[in-house]
Structure formats: C-alpha cells, structure tokens
C-alpha cells in the first residue's frame, strides 16, 4: 500500500505524457497510422514520462515563438504574424494573451518568445523611460542596445485616450481632459496597466493636475461593460477600440497633448536576423499596411461580431497580401479536449511531483524533531503566498508557459500533503507504537510496515485536498501562457463572452468534482471511511 502513491504518480505521469504525445501529433498533423510501432511508442512514452520536465524545458525547435498582450488588438496582430509565417512554411508557436508589457518584454529578452507586437509610445514610456527619444530612428537605436529590433510602424496609431458616456459628458459639459479637473466626484475605472504606467494615469494626473479620489483598476475589456452599467464613469481607451463607436462614447480631447504616439510595431530579437532571416523578411511585409480603419474593423469583427482572431487574421492576409492561409477552426469539442489535456497536464505533473516530494518531507517532519517546525513552517509560508503572486514570481526563474505554472502549482500542493503525512504519523496511538518497538523491529521497518500504512487515510485526504485546490488554481496558469481551462476564461474576459468564460469555468468545476470523486473511490477501494 505504501507504494500505491508512487505507482499512481508514475502512472499518471506516463498517461499524461502519452496524451501530450497524441496532442503534439494532432497539432503537427502527422499521420501515425502505423500501430505496429506500439512497443516503440510505449518506450517513447516511458522515456517521456520520466524526464518530461527536462524535455519540456529543452524544446528548442527552430519554431518562431510569438507572443501577444492581453487585449484583442495585440492578439489579432500576433495571429496575423503567426499565420503570415505559417503560410510561408515556417513553424510557429503562438502564445496569445501572455501578459502585460513587462512580461512580454522580459520574455523577449529571455528568449521565451522571439516576436511580439508593441507600440512606440509604450516602449518609450515604459521600457526606455528616462531616455530622450524624439524619433523612430532614435527608438530603434535605443532598442538595439538590448539586441532588440523593431519593424517600421505597421500603419496605425493606437494612442491612449479617456472616454465617457456621451450623454453624461454633454450634461457635465466635458470635452477635454482638462475639464475633468472640475469634477472630482467622477468614478474612474482604468485598466491595471494604464493605472501604473508613466504614460498612463500616473503621469496623466500629474500632468493635468486632476484630483480624483475614486479610481479603480480593472480589466480593459470589462471597462466598457462597467461604463454602460454606470459603475464607472471615465475609462481609458485605445483609440482603435471598436467599442468607441459601438457604445457611442465621448472621447475627451487630449488638449495638453500628454499622450505620445503609439505606432504599432513588431519587436524581435536581433539574433533572429542571422538565425531566421526569412521570418524577419516576412514580418517586415506588414510594415505600413495595417491602417487605422483596418485595425478598428478587425477589432470590431472580433469583439463585437464574435468572429475568431484566426478568421479575422486570415481575412486580412487574403485581402491585403493575397495569401491563402489555412486556418483550422476548432469546434467546441476539440477546444474543450485540448484545454482538458492542457489542464490535466498541469495538474497531473505538478501534483505527482508534489506527492513524491511532500510525503518524504512529511515523514522527515514527523521523525526528525529538529526539522519539524522548519519543514511545516516552510511549506506553510509557501501556502500564504497568493497563488497569482506565486505564478508571477516564477516568471523570472522559469520564464513563461507550463513549466513555471507547474512549479507554482507544485509548491502550492505541498502543504496539505506534508501536513497530513506529518499528522498521520504523529497521531498513531502511543500503545501501537510501543508494541511496534517492543517487537524489536528497526525504525525503517516500523515506518514502512506500520506507520505509513496507518497514515495512508490521512495522507490520501491531504492529496485529495491538494488535488482539488490544484485543479482550481491551475486555471490561473493561463495568465502566464500555460494553457488549460484558464485559457477560455481569459479569452472570455477579453471578448466579454460569458459563453467562453463558462467554457473554462464549468469543466474546471467538474474536473474538481471528478478528482474529489476519484479520491473518494480510492478511499473506498482501500477500505477507508472518509477521514
């Protein structure tokens, strides 16, 4: 029975590996009709299962890794770039909605991604702040010192703006940003990034000397809803947002010209010019052809008409570059399947590793008195870190994607298992331990034959708790590009689509229930009552 958990976890890892292998095959559309290779296949799966993490972090294929920010426009630009390269025969890996400017910039420097779209104003104000930059050439020069290159502007300026409900603006006679000074009572709702940026609210309020007491941060895509519902009254806008027209908003004039120009460009690491000149040549084809009306229309198509990023990007390539990019439109079920695999992959590996590490830690805590408070205290502290923060802490250490997400989930899963292993052993009645020692058995035999089996129900309960928490927390993994059920939730928030949010939330809840039921069954099968 003591080996049960070990066996279970290895089994889980190999199953996961198998699933992932299938997934990869699907994606690459390799026809694997040869079922005679099943033995070889099994070997591969086994190898994969054992050194999975290593392999995963070493997937240094010559694919072009593309990232995009959290909002629709960035996602569309990333999609256009990705399809443009794909249709020209290059392999790409597109991680959409990876995070804010800092995360993408750092990911680019750390070679987690190779390419992502950004804006000149953002780069000058956020990344290169304090530098005197007055022209695009100067910007390119400064970027070069980071070994980063930028395409020429793509053709539109998506500057920040402040907007509000037209009726209310007219009632209060608000036309320019300066006018806001007269109305301290207004409720402001800004995207979190805008709130903190020097070229955002931080700089703006100083520049215009606006006194505002009621400022909240929220997701940009939710802002329009909040505005319509009246929860907030002034929001930040991107000038290419399709919603401005849709909701008939009043855009307040930047009368003191605070906001710089935000010309869209595509950033890449300069080493790409040598390692993948073809890719750079291709993305430069996008220079100047994405005009403002085209971008607004594409944003509207996705956000207001519910078309997919991929379709809109494909249409753009066809209309403007006569490229026929084949896009695969996933059905709900294939998407669900992919997300399920992604989620199980995150949960399975992180939980298995947690079991393998936490049970020995719990044993050490129970057996080595000098280690007891250290071990329990350490895993306890890990648990107090908010899960979101833990995920973000992982980025500088492990980059983006499923590896850092799994690492965070792993750390998060330790406490319940360590604590239950420790208490399961500690709570064995004294007379029983006395008889065990009186039999003249060495400590190792007592641990294996008596203490651990007696602690199994408690340990199992700890694993169950970890698993259920893990399934829920893994949805946050999408924030750092780890996939899983968090992905549709994140996209759902971006596109303001309840259906998409539920597409992630419902399976996540079901999976949590399923995991709970699975462990209940194991407990029953082993003959333990609920602990």
């Amino acid at each position: 029975m003591r080996y049960l958990s070990t066996i279970l976890s290895f089994r889980l890892i190999s199953v996961m590996a198998e699933k992932l292998e299938n997934l990869k095959m699907r994606v690459k559309k390799v026809s694997s009709s040869d079922s005679t290779h099943s033995l070889e296949m099994k070997k591969t799966v086994l190898t994969l299962g054992i050194c999975f993490l290593v392999l995963f972090s070493l997937t240094a294929q010559p694919t072009v890794k593309i990232g995009s920010k959290l909002f629709t426009e960035s996602v569309i630009l990333g999609e256009i770039t990705s399809q443009l390269l794909e249709v020209n025969g290059l392999e790409t890996e597109y991680t959409k909605q990876l995070g804010g400017t800092r995360i993408l910039w750092n990911a680019l420097l750390a070679e987690e991604i190779d390419i992502y779209p950004d804006y000149t104003g953002t780069l000058i104000q956020e990344i290169l702040q304090g530098k005197e930059i007055n022209s695009f050439e100067e910007l390119q020069f400064e970027l070069r010192s980071f070994d980063i290159g930028a395409t020429q502007p793509l053709g539109f300026n998506n500057t920040y703006a402040l907007g509000m409900n037209r009726k209310q603006a007219e009632e209060l006679n608000l036309n320019k940003i300066s006018d806001l000074k007269k109305h301290q009572e207004l409720k402001y709702g800004f995207s979190n990034e805008f709130l903190d940026r020097n070229d955002g609210w931080k700089g703006l309020r100083e520049f215009y000397k606006i006194n505002a007491s009621n400022v909240t941060g929220l997701d940009h895509d939710l802002a329009y809803r909040g505005l319509e519902a009246g929860n907030i009254e002034v929001i930040d806008l991107y000038s290419t947002d399709a919603e401005i027209e849709y909701y008939d908003l009043k855009v307040l004039e930047d009368d003191l010209e605070f906001f710089p120009a935000y010309e869209a460009v595509i950033l890449y690491r300069l080493d790409m010019e040598r390692s993948n000149p073809e890719a750079i040549k291709l993305i430069k084809q996008l220079e100047g052809i994405v005009t403002e009306p085209k971008m607004v229309a594409m944003n509207a198509a996705v956000k207001l008409n519910g078309r997919s990023d991929a379709e809109v990007a494909s249409d753009f390539l066809e209309d403007n570059m006569s490229l026929d990019s084949e896009i695969q439109i996933e059905t709900l079920w294939t998407r669900l399947w992919r997300n399920t695999l992604g989620h199980l992959y995150l949960v399975g590996i992180s939980l298995s590793l947690a079991i393998l590490i936490a049970i020995p830690l719990g044993i050490i805590a129970a057996k080595v008195r000098s280690m007891e408070s250290t071990v329990i205290g350490f895993v306890g502290i890990l648990q107090t870190i908010p899960s979101l923060a833990l995920l973000v802490f992982m980025i500088p250490l492990l980059g983006i994607g499923s590896v850092p997400a799994m690492a965070a989930l792993f750390l998060y899963s330790l406490l319940p298992i360590v604590r239950n292993t420790h208490s399961g052993i500690k709570n064995i009645p004294e007379p029983m331990m006395e008889s065990a020692h009186a039999l003249g058995l060495p400590n190792s035999v007592i641990l294996n034959k008596i203490e651990l089996p007696l602690a199994v129900p408690t340990i199992l309960a700890g694993i169950k708790t970890s698993a259920v928490i893990n399934v829920g927390t893994a949805t946050l993994g999408a924030l750092i590009g780890a996939g899983g059920y968090g992905q549709p939730i994140l996209t759902g928030i971006r596109l303001d689509s309840t259906a998409l949010i539920l597409e992630g939330a419902i399976p996540a809840a079901l999976l949590a229930l399923l995991v709970q039921g699975f462990f209940d069954l194991i407990e029953k099968w082993l003959g333990y009552e609920r602990v």
Binding site: P429, P431, M432, E434, S435, A436, H437, A438, L439, G440, L441, P442, V445, K449, I450, P453, L454
Partner: protein, 245 residues
C-alpha cells in the same frame, strides 16, 4: 534472567522510580503489583528498552541493555500490553508474524510455529485471517500472546494483559495463562493492579509504591508478614464478594 540495578527515572520534576533493584531468575513468574502511578509500568518499559532510565542498568540474560543491542534483546522478550497493541491494518496472522518475516524465517517455519501457538493459546485458526477490529477483546489478547511468543523468547513481559477484559472472560484467560506459563517454563514478569490475579499467576509478588519496591516474596509471606501499614492496607483493600456493609 532479568537483573535491574539502581534504576531511577524522573518525568520533569517528579521522580517515578527511586532506585529499583530487582532480580528475576530463570523460569520464575513474577507479578509486579501496586497502586496506579507507583511506577510498575514504567519499570516494565525500561526493561523492554522502550524508555531510557536516568541511572542504573538492566541486564537481560547476562547482557546489559544498550542502544546497540536493544533490537536484538527485544527478540528475547515477548511483550503484551493491555489493549490497542495489535495493528489494525494487519490481520491477526500478519500481526503475529511480522517480526519473524523481518528476520527472514521461511514461511513453512512461520506457519508451523503459528499453528503450534494457536493451539497453545486455544484460538480458532479461522480467526487468524481477521483484522483486530473484527475479533473480541479476549481473542485479541490471545493473538497478542501468540505474537509475544512467536520467536520463542526466554522472557515474557505483560503489562496489565487482562486489564480491559470483562470478568468472565478474564477468569478463563487467567486460568489459561497460568497453564501456558507452567507449560512453557518461561521467565515471566507480569504487571497487574489486582492482588488476586497476582497471587494466582505469580510464584512471587513484588509490591511497589511511589517508585520503590516495598515488599517482595510469595503471597503467603506477604500476607502473613506485611512490611508496613501500606502493605496491610493494600491486602485488605481487595474486596471480597461476600463482604458485608
């Protein structure tokens, strides 16, 4: 066979054993008796090496008990406690054979020994495949006895073995225990708080109070010549069923 010299033991500030000297020669059945808290169970645990004494030595069959030989010496001693000593996740069979298996006995040898002992303690072999929760308290103590006797130890230590058994079964078990002790001729040290049980099972009685041995001898000599007032009280405190108010 068992030799205890100047054993002292304190818990925080309370001294529970105040220099105990005790020799038990081979084949004797000694009953250690006294009011609760007198230190008799602590002494038994020290002999078993389960608790370390503050001072003094314990010798088992001529060997001084130490960290180095404690496991090996425990194999020479069978140990039965009041209750809760059987492991609930193992069957009676697994409970009794765990040490023999660890020592690498052949399964045929284990099987033979197990059935021999089942016969000795008069337990139905069918019960051997049950878990402790599925057998009665009296049967559990018989299983505990099999476990204690499995390696054929020279010494048997029993800590209130019948303490939580109901009176009818206890009576029967006392009779059986006496027979077993006589048959096996082991060195037995039995802790009890019941003078009748001590007199019935023990060829010699050691009476303890507050961490000291007060009197030692056979039941007659103790009853006829109580060492002090306490011993006298202890003897008369055993109520007879016919006692009138």
């Amino acid at each position: 066979m068992i030799s205890v010299k100047n054993i002292e033991k304190s818990y925080s500030s309370k001294k529970v054993l105040k220099g105990i000297d005790l020799d038990i020669s081979k084949g004797k059945t000694v009953a250690l008796i006294g009011p609760s808290g007198c230190g008799k169970s602590t002494l038994l645990r020290i002999i078993m090496g389960l608790i370390e004494a503050d001072t003094g030595t314990v010798s088992i069959a001529g060997e001084i008990l130490s960290d180095k030989n404690v496991l090996q010496l425990r194999h020479k001693m069978g140990y039965v406690i009041q209750k809760g000593g059987l492991f609930p996740h193992l069957t009676a069979r697994e409970n009794t054979t765990i040490t023999a298996e660890y020592l690498g006995w052949e399964s045929s040898k284990i099987e033979k020994r197990l059935y021999e002992l089942a016969e000795l303690v008069q337990i139905d072999k069918k019960l051997l495949d049950r878990k402790p929760d599925d057998i009665s308290g009296g049967q559990a103590q018989r299983i505990s006895l099999i476990r204690a006797l499995m390696l054929d130890p020279e010494i048997i230590l029993l800590d209130e073995p019948l303490g939580s058994i109901d009176p009818l079964v206890r009576h029967e078990l006392q009779t059986d225990l006496k027979k077993i002790f006589q048959q096996l001729q082991k060195t037995v040290l039995l802790v009890t708080h019941d003078l009748g049980e001590a007199a019935f099972l023990g060829s010699e009685i050691v009476l303890m109070k507050d961490g000291e041995i007060i009197q030692q001898g056979d039941i007659r000599s103790i009853m006829n010549n109580p060492a002090n007032e306490f011993v006298e009280q202890f003897i008369t405190a055993q109520r007879s069923p016919l006692e009138e108010y």
